[in-house]
Subunit: 120 residues, 2 copies
């Protein structure tokens, strides 16, 4: 299954999904679906910023006693964002509308992550 197919499946399965992406912690996306996400939200800019924070969080987690970070969610007025760590270099991200199915988004990412990971 291609990266695109995994992302397409995520966006299709989750009600209210806006876009999904495999992102590098360096801020460079490997693949995004749909390629043209709602332009007014500038999701890709937000993801670069979030990836940067996630990266700091990974380093911080090494000295914390709470264990490695698996999932981070950042919810704003206009967008819910769920991120799941894949490898030390990459993470999976799914953005959805505030009224979208957040529980399903978490579940779908948890299922998709190991499959995407084996292909990275």
């Amino acid at each position: 299954m291609s990266f695109r197919a995994h992302l397409e499946s995520l966006v299709t399965k989750v009600d209210g999904a806006l876009a999904a992406s495999i992102m590098g912690f360096d801020g460079i996306p490997v693949e995004t679906h749909p390629p043209e996400a709602p332009p007014d939200l500038e999701l890709s800019t937000a993801w670069v910023e979030y990836g940067n924070l996630l990266s700091q969080l990974k380093s911080a987690a090494e000295v914390l006693k709470t264990g490695p970070v698996q999932e981070v969610s950042i919810n704003t007025e206009k967008v819910l964002t769920v991120m799941r760590l894949l490898t030390p270099e990459y993470f999976l991200v799914l953005a959805l509308k505030p009224e979208g199915n957040y529980g399903k988004a978490r579940y779908a990412l948890r299922i998709a992550a190991p499959m995407v990971k084996t292909e990275l």
Copy 2:
């Protein structure tokens, strides 16, 4: 209702809750319940770190088009942490076990936040 009573109610209502706190972005807790959280997890150290990241996220959100940050969740192997912004100075945080009721935690924080806010 005192801060302590709000936090106690949060911890009691949410299955699997470990501890709740009203934290300043400067890393200083206003109030925590229970005062002695599980010592092996060092939750208060994690919260200071998370607060620091939340603070950066607030600043980043000002230039992002996704709107103000309302809720952030950081989930590790051993602890799920849900945070909700109260004011530019304070946030509410609830830590729960990985098998705890995450949906209820988000809901309870959403309901408690405006009440705690009026008392800050």
